[in-house]
Amino acid sequence: MRPDDLVRAVEATLFAAEEPMTAEAISTHLGGANVKDALVQLEVQYRERGVQLVERGKRWHFQTAPDLAHLLRREREEVRRLSRAATEVLAIVAYHEPVSRAEIESIRGVQTAKGTLDVLMEAGWVRIVGRREVPGRPVIYATTPEFLSHFGLESRRDLPGIDELRAAGLLDPVEDALAEAMDTVGKQEEAADNDSDETEAEAPD
């Protein structure tokens, strides 16, 4: 197969595919050819077009360019509207995965209705990935490749602001942050031994 032919074959395969495909699946379909270079070439060739080649969770697919959204948005709403609770739960699963229901609830401060996780699983964005080996062995949830495809994320590293949240410790459990904060406060008090303002508790910066 000439290099050009391989690019054309990968292009045709991905155009015709009904589901996003991994490089391995494309390769298998094309009789074992190495398709990595072809994918990169196509990605570049289509970058400025009205249709683009994107990688989402290691799977590739063509989709329309985001800046044309206003022209293409369909009249009927095809995307399921999520409740506020569902969007929050989805975000918590995505940023903390794998995560148990109790952990989701401790962040949100309210019980999570049974249907909320079901809706997310039915949409194909969340799935059960196992059990936490703690008493009660609660099931734990994580996001799926479909989640990444739907929200246009190449991987979980692309989740908006995840690096900042992690750096700020906001993805750590409260207990960890508390222990660290108390430790810092304790050391400061020890060092300064000044008349600290007892009436206000402040988080350390």
Binding site: A85, G109, A203
Partner: protein, 268 residues
């Protein structure tokens, strides 16, 4: 239940769909800003109040926040609005926290009110972070809303085709087995030389009659017999010896296991 448990335990919170709301009960001429139905529980209300302080969540005044929350609850109660238990539990806990924060520090209290306040603050930060993250996630270019996959993909089909394998030997062996299996079956019974029990009985008893000394069992066997007949004779003679002993016509003796079996006649 400890004070810190009040905040952390999900049991204190309530199911998100249960809140029927206070605002529906508020009459129009109330100037009060009461829209509790918009919140998903006390933590949600606290977060909203905290955000109205318009400062970084890390710098909010917990005392101010507590006051605001308690004012809300008091107003709701003054209007005789029905408040969910969670809001009242949180109010009681915040009132406790406020008094603890205002009192001179008591070293014995553990956890300290500062720690409790910090814990509340950390939880508010985490909830706020996830709420912002959810909003940013929902605002992305979403497949099927902002970007679209191919409307009518041809689809890929993979047809499986079997490639059958068989070799010459398997073929020939299979035929051999068919022929062998279906060949007429003939049973052949081989003619074997045997000494019957009856003949052994008469032989052994006759020999016992002429000799009163101990004799080894194998001395009773035909001396020049074919080995196959000899084995049969051994078995039959042994059974005959047992039978004669049972009838009281002979006695048996064996000094060791597998040792020579001795036999002697008994005079009637």
């Amino acid at each position: 239940m400890s004070e810190e448990g009040l905040i952390d335990s999900p049991a204190v919170s309530f199911a998100e769909d249960e809140w029927q709301g206070v605002a529906t009960a508020a009459s129009e001429d109330q100037a009060l800003y009461l829209e509790l139905d918009g919140w998903e529980g006390p933590l949600d209300l606290l977060l909203d109040l905290a955000r109205r302080q318009k400062v970084d969540l890390r710098r909010i005044s917990i005392l101010e926040l507590v006051d605001q929350y308690l004012t809300y609850i008091e107003q709701a109660e003054a209007l005789r609005l029905e408040l969910a238990a969670d809001y009242l539990v949180m109010a009681a806990w915040l009132a406790y926290l406020k008094s603890a924060l205002l009192l001179p520090r008591d070293e014995q209290v553990d956890p300290s009110p500062e720690e409790l306040a910090l814990r509340l603050q950390l939880r508010l930060q985490r909830l706020a972070a996830m709420r912002d993250a959810a909003a940013r996630l929902m605002g992305r270019d979403r497949l099927g809303r902002d970007v679209f996959r191919r409307g009518a993909p041809e689809g890929l089909r993979v047809d499986r085709k079997n490639k059958w394998q068989c070799d010459w030997f398997a073929l020939v062996q299979a035929y051999g087995q068919v022929k062998a299996r279906t060949a007429p079956v003939v049973h052949m019974v081989r003619d074997r030389m045997v000494m019957t029990l009856d003949s052994a009985l008469s032989r052994v008893s006759a020999m016992l009659g002429v000799n009163l000394d101990w004799m080894e069992l194998k001395d009773f066997l035909p001396p020049h017999a074919d080995p196959k007949l000899r084995r049969s004779a051994m078995a039959s003679s042994f059974v005959a010896a047992l039978e004669l002993a049972r009838l009281g016509k002979a006695e048996l003796q064996q000094d060791s296991v597998f040792g020579p079996l001795m036999l002697r006649g008994i005079k009637a």
